[in-house]
Symmetry: C2
Subunit: 324 residues, 2 copies
């Protein structure tokens, strides 16, 4: 086994550091749903996390570990929105500033909320520009520190605290399914389970048209998604697995599963009806893969992370309202 960049101990250290900063979110379960599915379904509700997504965990922890001098330089990152919100809030709480590089088609609700937290937004064109080039340019111009959404060990250790809480609050987990964009929460969850519950299988769940991790696991190396495709899962619409998270996922994951946008909408409705929770599309990729049958749940205990709930009312209603 290769030496991984993040250990179980690192996640425990992060958990200690984040105490009182991030919310310990509940693990939801419903008796009637379990009867329906023939197994136990657990939802780690990170849509209840401060700023509406798990991302605050990694962003805050990374910022906390900067030296005062580094922190004073301010931070910069790419994000489709949830990491933007987490990083903007962390910057605000720790007395520094953030610039966020966001795709021009990012959720308007997420953009507005990011600005409201005092961060500056720089947009780029998803199909013709690389986010990393825009971040690099901004970084060079301003000497800000980059806090990537997933490709940093401290960001992963922070994200892993969600999985660590799940491990502490649930027992006898057969399977954990994690919505996967950049692969950070997936990798961090795999690290936590590999040490804390080695028999628990961890799967990445991706949108059908953004299954880069699935194909990359098969190929044994990062393979990109074709340019120009779209999914309603704005939070996990990533071009290619990155160099920090992919080696971990290749080493530790049991596999990857997918969900169509139709499956995603059905899962959002399921969460609305049975769990009374508001999920954004990307947050239910794991739930959708359980409901569409790609993840077996009969006679098993299966958990998935509901990664976020940042969606405005009009968009939410458009997605859950029409059963077509």
């Amino acid at each position: 086994m290769t030496q991984l960049p993040v250990s179980f101990d690192d996640v425990q250290t992060a958990q200690h550091a984040l105490k009182g900063v991030v919310h310990r979110t509940p693990v939801l379960e419903n008796g009637e749903v379990n009867d329906l599915l023939g197994g136990r379904l657990l939802l780690k509700a990170e849509n209840f996390q401060r700023t509406g997504a798990f991302k605050l965990r990694g962003a805050y922890y990374r910022l906390l570990n900067l030296t005062p001098k580094q922190r004073a330089c301010g931070v910069v990152s790419y994000s489709s929105g949830n990491h933007a919100l987490g990083l903007a809030r962390a910057a605000q709480m720790l007395g520094t500033s953030a610039i966020l590089v966001m795709p021009s088609d990012a959720s308007t609700a997420k953009m507005r909320a990011t600005q409201k937290l005092g961060a500056q937004i720089v947009t780029f064109e998803r199909d013709t520009q690389q986010s990393r080039d825009v971040v690099a340019r901004t970084q060079a111009e301003t000497s800000r520190i980059e806090v990537p959404p997933s490709a940093h060990p401290q960001v992963l250790a922070g994200a892993g605290t969600a999985a660590l809480e799940l491990l502490e609050d649930a027992s006898a987990l057969d399977t954990v399914v994690v919505p996967c964009g950049g692969g950070g929460l997936t990798a961090a969850s795999a690290i936590v389970m590999a040490s804390g519950a080695p028999s628990t299988k961890v799967f990445a769940a991706e949108p059908e048209l953004f299954d880069d991790t699935k194909r990359s696991l098969v190929a044994g190396k990062p393979v990109p998604n074709p340019v120009g495709q779209r999914t309603i899962c704005d939070a996990i619409m990533t071009p290619i697995p990155n160099d920090v998270t992919f080696p971990i996922n290749l080493e530790l994951l049991a596999g990857a599963v997918t969900a169509s946008d139709q499956d995603i909408r059905a899962a959002m409705r399921f969460a609305f009806e049975h769990f009374k929770i508001v999920c954004e599309p990307g947050a239910v990729a794991g739930l959708a893969a359980i409901l569409n049958g790609q993840i077996a749940i009969k006679d098993k205990v299966v958990a998935t992370v509901i990664t976020g709930g940042n969606i405005d009312a009009a968009r939410f209603c458009a997605l859950i309202g029409d059963k077509a």
Copy 2:
């Protein structure tokens, strides 16, 4: 102090009996909301309870305490929907049958779900018939046992377990605000706080046009609501305080507050945006009275029970979608 029909010990006994049957629902809190309000807001999320509302607690506990012979007779009750769901499910779990007397304008989602749980529905006209007459007739015809939505000590003891969990999970509560229809959860919460946290003030929260408890507390005796009025809060649209819950509320409550239907919609939107949860209108009467300023929260710890989340997607979206 008059001898109350339910004691703190009764609620503890009920809690023991309901273990493994009802879900221990989480108490939700959000750091950004607290910053916004200048105090701590806690939501006891009974919309996550099995069958989508706190009512299963009281219904199941009452059924559990029937003799086998009584239980075999089946049960009957009035309900606008949430007690119907709780009682239907409890009957199903304990191997008996339920007839529910529901107003003809009850939520279609609640009616459908009640039937799906195997219960039979008898409808009545809200403005021209008394639910109690219809229940009495059904009871006489069938020898079924009546399990009222609130007017029975064991139903109250069961409902009180929600407040007992809140007491165990939250500390230093200044105020608890409870949505109030028949007044059962309000009375049960007041009993729990009077013993467990005597300095905590308990308020009833009612729809502006169904403020019978508020006016009755002033009058010192049950005063009815005018016939023919409506509110979007279908779960707490009751005609008059009842003889079991009102004496308790008169003895123990700090007061009653109200919310307009517009306040209720704003509170549903607030819960959607900041807590990512689905609430039915009646469930946010307490939250609405906090947000409309009738309950002080600055520098305080204020909890409210989100009593249920049984609302279909179309209705939910109609209520939160239009900001008029």
